[in-house]
Symmetry: C3
Subunit: 135 residues, 3 copies
């Protein structure tokens, strides 16, 4: 279910792959999603045709190692779970991709069960009520 976009500067395929695994493994470990519940868009920007901009907001120094992680998931995860998720993404991004934790920027956007179709034109998380035959 989580749908994830990851944007990084000058990232080659190996680094994109490492970042994708970091975010996915963190979601599995902290939020408890199944291992095959992985849906990600991984984009490396060349700094010309497409690029990123970032500042040192909140006293965190960022540089071209910046990684933007945008997660869409269903509502209902408690704040402590989200905090655990952020910690684990930062840890695994460092472990897998050598990304410094100061460069890991994460946003979460929530929606509801009926807002997902995971294939076959169905709303798997919110199936329609079937009419029940009486008699």
């Amino acid at each position: 279910m989580p749908f994830v976009r990851i944007d990084a500067l000058y990232a080659d395929p190996a680094r994109l792959d490492a970042l994708g695994r970091a975010v996915h493994d963190a979601l599995v470990e902290t939020i408890g999603i199944p291992d095959d519940d992985r849906f990600q868009v991984l984009v490396g920007h060349d700094g010309a045709r497409s690029t990123l901009r970032y500042g040192d907001h909140l006293g965190v120094h960022r540089d071209e190692g910046i990684v933007f992680v945008a997660i869409t998931m269903r509502s209902g995860r408690q704040p402590e779970l989200k905090r655990a998720l952020y910690r684990r993404i930062a840890e695994l991004a460092r472990a897998y991709a050598g990304t410094e934790p100061r460069n890991v920027f994460v946003t979460v956007t929530e929606n509801e069960s009926v807002d997902w179709s995971l294939g076959d034109g169905l709303a798997q998380y919110a199936p329609s009520a079937e009419p029940v035959a009486e008699g």
Copy 2:
């Protein structure tokens, strides 16, 4: 109003166009948006500089024909309308682009009327109250 992002692997311009038309026509037919209410970002990924990741979650087998469709629209559409939308996107993606329904992944994110500016710096769906002259 719907703002749509479509991401696909190895998609040439013709396939991107077909996918964009499939999603748009489905929105017109099921949600009832006007035909000129089309705002889409269509991205083909080369699998290197940018790429997609996906698993077989919920027993749906996906492959490199995967298409991610992310729709932002105003809140208020009932669940049955959303289900009809997902069905029609899957049907038209097959009809127009040859995409198998198992490879069509859709998410919806909702916002409110005041969250849209469709040009000219205005919030067309939530115009400001004009002061009314008394007397």
Copy 3:
């Protein structure tokens, strides 16, 4: 805090930069975000490998100068602030990038304080309550 995606057709680095500054300066001036609170993904589309689609919805004529601005920010901004933001983005996009106001399309998506990690694996806007030693 705002996380911004800007998509434009055939935009060279100078135009992407100008559009990014226009949106950022408008956020600073109208919403009051700090100047270093800038997090943007700027993407120029070549019209082939990736592209945009748009119509003349609401009688606004759009052309290939179209710019999609998608802003994610915390909830709580009042409608009048959002209207001021849209006006200022359109003004500055014209001033900095020569973009006509009719071609500036903006959407806002909101989330909550706990939905942001601005680095170091922390949820800076919603820090965890520390246990307080009694005695």
